[in-house]
Symmetry: C2
Subunit: 206 residues, 2 copies
């Protein structure tokens, strides 16, 4: 049954009212080897968009060619917002095609430097409270590979101003990220078509 109907396990001793607690920003991490980490983050972003939230997606993928259906649909939803005032504004940024604020072309340059460049921009936007809902897709990989400092990420998320939700996806989320998150879901692979020799297909994988 819908989980929003469940009662919280306990009332915390944090001096906040239920209403204040309901207004807290959420830091969510979707990790594990199973499918559904990114699709679930984008599914939640749909809800947020529908509530009028300003959405920003940052995809930390290396290839410019990798394009998922969500990108097209969200950009269209952003147009609906701009043209008819529905939902929220949408921005979609991809490391692989070169961040839009950066002059460098993604595929020609240093992936580690590109990842840092992406994170620095996200920090600036968080400080400026530029968006309501951030998706940092595949963001655990530059953390895992040591390109971006986990402690810097944890501290930035912990101290960010206002009510900005941040959803982070990717395998092997580091412990320092798990600690600072409110909501952590592990997607485990129980069974996958690729185990039966089937490749990814249109409408399912992209």
């Amino acid at each position: 049954m819908p989980q929003g109907q469940l009662d919280p396990d306990q009332v915390p001793d944090d001096g906040l009212t239920t209403r204040q607690r309901r207004m807290l920003p959420v830091t969510a991490v979707h990790t594990g080897k199973g499918k559904g980490k990114s699709t679930s983050a984008f599914g939640t972003a749909l809800r947020a968009w529908n509530q009028g939230m300003n959405i920003a997606v940052f995809q930390f993928v290396k290839s410019a060619k990798w394009k998922i259906g969500e990108e097209e649909v969200f950009l269209r939803l952003g147009e609906l917002h701009d043209a008819e005032g529905l939902g929220g504004a949408v921005e979609w940024h991809k490391m692989g095609s070169g961040w839009s604020w950066s002059r460098k072309k993604g595929d020609e340059s240093d992936h580690a430097a590109d990842a840092v460049d992406g994170w620095e921009e996200i920090k600036r936007r968080l400080a400026a409270e530029q968006h309501d809902f951030y998706v940092l897709d595949e963001f655990t990989y530059p953390l895992k590979w040591g390109w971006i400092d986990v402690e810097d990420v944890a501290e930035t998320l912990r101290s960010r101003p206002g009510r900005q939700h941040v959803f982070i996806t990717g395998r092997d989320a580091p412990e320092g990220l798990i600690e600072v998150a409110d909501l952590v879901t592990e997607m485990s692979l129980v069974k996958h078509p690729m185990q039966a020799g089937r490749k990814g297909q249109k409408g399912i994988e992209w």
Copy 2:
């Protein structure tokens, strides 16, 4: 990294070509106590819609009041399809408000009978190859409660004609359903805001 870029573990001895295997229908189950089961199914449905697939959602929830943002967004995407030919057609059916093909009002009637009524309609549609992508949201509960026969579901899915993808969500997916699925993801709860006394909030839970 995107899983569509992975190679399959092995080439199966099923007499099919890679292309034929790529065209097989997918039966997916999202289960477990963690969040992301439904959002991920709807996120995948976004991809499918974007590829022009005809989408049908069947929500097996009891309350007519429970409405998630995805419903509004997908109905709008369906309008975009009808008006401009973008993406695929969309139908959204909810048990709680009375199935659209049924005369009964959901909240006044027998939930077990309503669930069976929903499943019988889905069977008819599968037989008629009416849609390309089905989401059976919270469908594991009527199975778990014995309202709908798991063997009937497994056999129907196993023998369905054509290339109709079926995504099923809900906790405690029964073994008979797992067996017939190609793709099973277990969403495990690592950490949840409700554990810190926080209630569901707008843009995240609905």
